[in-house]
């Protein structure tokens, strides 16, 4: 009975030649494996195979030659067949073999791991009788691998929408799933300062296609009447602003629930009117909103426009037929019929979800254009240079729009002469029809530099700078659904393009654009910082609107011109440097903002709990009541009480506990802004108790968005406290301009002894050590200085060169404080980080 060892040896030695002798030939056949112990192993039976012929009479040279040849063949066979040692470990080159490969199979590459594991198992089960192992079916991952990668991608997009540039971003960015999109968060390389420099001096690129677009179509008066219920003139220009109504400018507006101003804020939105077409009374309006807002805004719009009837539904998204993963690839006839296409547009929409709504009374139609239009944002002073390098106006044009195209081309060429993007008026819109930018893709990546030779005294250039683009030049074919579909379908695939490139006579020359479809697009100028007095127009740029499907075709040429790419993190910083509130971080009164704050609180609490208890900051001892979440409602209520107490206003006309709002009315903001600065001769309104009380009555319990700038040292952190200084603090500052500020005395941790007892069974939630439990004590007077508000974004500002913070403070608190400050030092407050006891001086400014 042969054992495993013998079988193994036999397998190793099966290629070795056996002894070649004369004697075993005759008897070998009779007795099976002969009894002679010739062979490689002692005791092993098989006799040598030999020539089955009788002893020859004569040995001649030929015979000898044959013998020699046979021997050589046998030797060659033995030598060339590398049987013998374990093929698993021999298949690896020397530099990849590791010491403990045999018992730790994870050190082998995955293709060899199975064989090694089988060997290990077999050696363990050497004593038992071995059964032949069935070949294991491949893992789920391996079975699904080489099927159709495109189908796999389409399937993954059903849960979270992918942007067109997703794969490009996924290779270079950390991605995050938010708001049912998969969005790039931060680059994997360390590039914060480089991105800031790009925003400051060159250009930064972002993919903003996740913003949802809602289209309204109908007659102008009815639309304006309906939309006027959603906005208010007090916050600024509305949908009916004159410059925006003609279609020459993009506007931005705050949306509220119908007729509920100032309560019920929904969020900010950008809008764009289509320029008036002669002989047509219907107008088109595009509203761009953040995806978190979309459901709410859509329902409000439907309510306001009375559009409840849904007209068309979304079809089955494309020929993305899902095949069972087990099919082989040999089905050529099936493949030829239905090549699987990339999923374009919104993949998470179930088939049959309504896309358009019409109203029976008014003639307004609402359509949902999510993911139909690709939006790229270029930020920086050289953004226009990048655009003029990348885009080439179309050489051919359909005959009906020749003159318009020529005018648009002229305006586009004029852009080259502009020194910086900030010179143009904010929000101007230019429509354009361009060639495929992949045709003029440079061989190597470079950085686009401004063309300094163009004459700056051109009259038209001056007009452009002063008045912007004329309304009729903002027309574009992008507004038509049919034109968009046509352009999307007539796009050349990369394969076609590469084939054309390989067929060129002179390799490396430019491809001609004959016969290719021209792409209509819209260029929208974004004004940067428009409010306030410092660093005006910082962060201005251009938005590029494209039809869907053309995302990557424009992205790669833009990247080849040397722009930096930023993600969500950079857009938050962009808003922060501009001093503008970023949705949804800085909108505490909107439902989306409330959701965001609760998510942020949960995240911060998790991170806090993960640290070992002795390494956590004890917020109770620091006197910080709300390190993770800011209780705005409680703050405003307490300030109302305090102010009413101090003014002894018995007949308070406060309507109970109303919800707080954020002050957005421009008039009130202007007055407040004037009052928070040391008085100069220009200021008209003087601050007295009466005027302050009047303003307070007007606003109700509200918060105001302020920018704080530290006078000296210090870097504000998230949820730092903004406090009112006492008179002694201000005197301290007068004496020593560089004083660092007062210090908070350390509080006692009164919950410490409670935790040492056993938790009673009535308490369901265990108090986290170092954080105040849920019903907070008085927010205002917990610390030695009165709390005015909290910081929502704070950091060392690279633009300003000192610590800057953006905060919300209570209006009544602010007025109360300012009234008590001497005139020269008006607007000074104290700032304290949650994990520190040191107060720092800061100056408030309200940007209007």
């Amino acid at each position: 009975m042969t054992g495993a060892k013998d079988r193994m040896r036999e397998k190793k030695m099966k290629n070795q030649p056996r002894n070649v002798t004369y004697t075993s030939s005759g008897r070998g056949t009779g007795r099976g494996q002969g009894s002679q112990a010739c062979g490689w192993v002692r005791g092993h039976q098989p006799g040598g195979h030999s020539y089955s012929q009788d002893l020859p009479k004569y040995i001649t040279a030929s015979y000898f030659a044959k013998a020699r040849a046979a021997e050589v063949n046998a030797m060659l066979k033995a030598v060339s067949k590398p049987a013998g040692s374990c093929h698993v470990f021999n298949a690896l080159p020397n530099h990849m073999r590791r010491r403990a490969m045999s018992h730790n199979t994870k050190r082998l590459p995955s293709r060899l791991r199975e064989g090694a594991q089988r060997l290990a198992e077999r050696s363990q089960r050497a004593a038992e009788k071995e059964k032949k192992q069935l070949p294991r079916s491949r893992s789920r991952r391996a079975r699904r691998r080489h099927g159709n990668l495109l189908l796999e991608f389409n399937r993954r997009q059903r849960k979270n929408k992918w942007l067109e540039t997703h794969i490009w971003h996924a290779k270079r960015f950390h991605m995050q799933k938010m708001w049912s999109y998969c969005l790039p968060l931060k680059p994997t390389a360390k590039s914060f300062r480089a991105s800031y420099r790009a925003m400051n001096t060159h250009a930064l690129l972002q993919d903003l296609s996740y913003f949802c677009c809602l289209e309204l179509q109908g007659s102008e008066e009815q639309m304006l009447r309906a939309l006027a219920r959603l906005t208010s003139k007090q916050t600024g220009p509305t949908f009916a602003a004159a410059s925006c109504l003609s279609g020459a400018r993009q506007g931005s507006v705050h949306l509220y629930k119908a007729d509920q101003f100032p309560q019920g804020c929904l969020g900010p939105a950008d809008f764009l009117w289509r320029p008036r077409v002669p002989d047509a009374s219907d107008r088109q309006l595009w509203i761009w909103i953040h995806p978190d807002l979309k459901q709410e805004v859509l329902s409000e719009l439907q309510l306001v426009c009375q559009c409840s009837v849904s007209v068309s539904v979304s079809e089955e998204s494309g020929p993305a037929v899902e095949r069972s993963a087990g099919r082989k690839r040999k089905r050529d006839e099936d493949d030829a019929e239905e090549p699987s296409k990339r999923l374009l547009g919104d993949g998470t929409r179930p088939a049959g979800a309504p896309v358009r709504w019409q109203s029976p009374d008014t003639t307004i139609t609402i359509s949902d254009l999510t993911m139909e239009i690709v939006r790229y944002r270029l930020i920086g002073p050289l953004a226009h240079v990048v655009l003029t390098d990348t885009l080439q106006p179309a050489s051919e044009e359909p005959s009906d729009a020749v003159s318009l195209h020529q005018q648009q081309t002229e305006v586009f060429q004029l852009l080259r002469g502009v020194c910086s993007t900030a010179e143009l008026p904010a929000g101007c819109v230019l429509g354009l029809t361009v060639d495929d930018p992949r045709l003029t893709l440079p061989q190597k990546r470079g950085k686009s530099v401004p063309d300094l030779q163009q004459s700056a005294e051109d009259d038209r250039l001056r007009d452009l700078r002063l008045t912007g683009v004329a309304a009729h030049c903002s027309q574009s074919a992008l507004w038509d659904t049919s034109a968009r579909e046509r352009v999307t379908h007539s796009r050349l695939s990369e394969q076609e393009l590469n084939r054309m490139r390989s067929e060129l006579l002179v390799p490396g020359s430019r491809l001609s654009a004959d016969g290719q479809a021209a792409v209509p697009l819209l260029l929208v100028h974004q004004g940067g910082r428009v409010r306030g007095e410092e660093r005006l127009h910082w962060g201005s740029g251009w938005d590029l609107l494209l039809p869907k499907g053309w995302g990557m075709a424009f992205w790669v040429p833009l990247v080849y011109r040397g722009v930096r790419v930023g993600g969500l993190h950079m857009s938050v910083k962009h808003s922060q440097f501009m001093g503008q509130p970023h949705f949804p971080h800085d909108y505490p009164d909107c439902p989306a903002g409330v959701r965001f704050q609760s998510e942020q609180e949960a995240e911060l609490l998790e991170k806090f709990k993960r640290r070992p208890p002795s390494k956590r900051t004890n917020y109770i001892k620091h006197g910080c009541l709300a390190p993770f979440c800011c209780p705005w409602q409680q703050l405003t209520e307490e300030w109302e009480e305090l102010v009413n107490l101090s003014t002894e206003n018995v007949s308070c006309c406060r309507t109970g506990a109303s919800d707080f709002t954020v002050l957005r009315s421009l008039k009130a903001l202007r007055r407040l802004s004037a009052w928070t600065r040391p008085p100069s001769r220009r200021n008209s309104s003087t601050l007295t108790h009466a005027t302050a009380a009047a303003l307070q009555q007007e606003c109700g319990p509200s918060l105001v968005w302020v920018r704080l700038r530290l006078l000296g040292k210090g870097q504000p952190a998230l949820h730092a406290m903004v406090c009112a200084p006492t008179t002694s603090d201000l005197q301290l500052l007068l004496q020593d301009a560089h004083s660092s500020g007062p210090q908070e005395p350390r509080h006692k941790d009164h919950l410490k002894h409670l935790r040492q007892h056993k938790t009673s069974p009535e308490e369901p939630a265990r108090a986290v050590r170092g954080v105040f439990p849920a019903p907070l004590p008085s927010v205002l007077s917990h610390c030695s200085r009165l709390t005015l508000g909290w910081v929502t974004q704070g950091d060392f500002s690279l633009a300003a060169g000192c610590g800057e913070a953006l905060a919300f403070i209570s209006v009544s608190g602010l007025l109360h404080t300012i009234l008590q400050q001497p005139q020269e030092q008006r607007g000074l407050v104290l700032l304290r980080n949650p994990s520190s006891l040191q107060y720092r001086f800061a100056r408030i400014s309200i940007d209007v």
Partner: protein, 168 residues
């Protein structure tokens, strides 16, 4: 881990008369060698011989013998080879001497050497042939022992090998 290293002596049996080669067996060689070592090196030699010496391969047609011995003592065995004058098998004595062609550390190196050596011999045989038929034979033999032949054989045998594996 200590390895037992061995040396393989590739020897050729040279006889004046080719026909007397026919009765060669590995036991014959073994016994003759043992007697020779005993005569030359005494008890010490025969004790060493007992440990690690074995005849690994024998080809009676060409007279090639492959002897294995331990690395420490192969020179001893090698020296005894030259004392062998005749091989005895069942009472028949054959006059011969063992010519050592190659010493290798592994069987594989000896096999590689043997391939080269045989090829050389075949090439040398060609001008010595007297008749044309012989020449044809020799040429055919030379052509037949090429690597491509071996590869074809391998491809043909792989299928049969797999069947063989599955049965066990």
């Amino acid at each position: 881990m200590v390895r037992f290293k061995s040396r393989y002596l590739l020897c050729e049996v040279c006889v004046p008369d080719r026909s007397s080669l026919q009765l060669l067996e590995d036991r014959t060689i073994y016994n003759t060698l043992r007697a020779a070592v005993n005569r030359a090196h005494g008890d010490y030699g025969s004790a060493l011989f007992n440990i690690g010496v074995i005849v690994k391969y024998l080809n009676a047609h060409t007279g090639v013998v492959l002897i294995r011995s331990r690395k420490k003592h192969y020179r001893l065995i090698w020296s005894a080879l030259s004392f062998i004058t005749c091989l005895e098998n069942r009472g028949q004595k054959v006059q011969c001497f063992l010519n050592c062609l190659h010493v290798g550390g592994t069987i594989r190196t000896c096999q590689k050497f043997l391939v080269k050596y045989n090829r050389q011999q075949l090439h040398r045989m060609l001008p010595d042939c007297k008749t044309d038929a012989e020449k044809q034979e020799v040429r055919r033999a030379i052509l037949s022992c090429s690597l491509s032949n071996v590869r074809e054989e391998e491809a043909g045998e792989d299928g049969s090998d797999d069947d063989g594996d599955k049965e066990t």
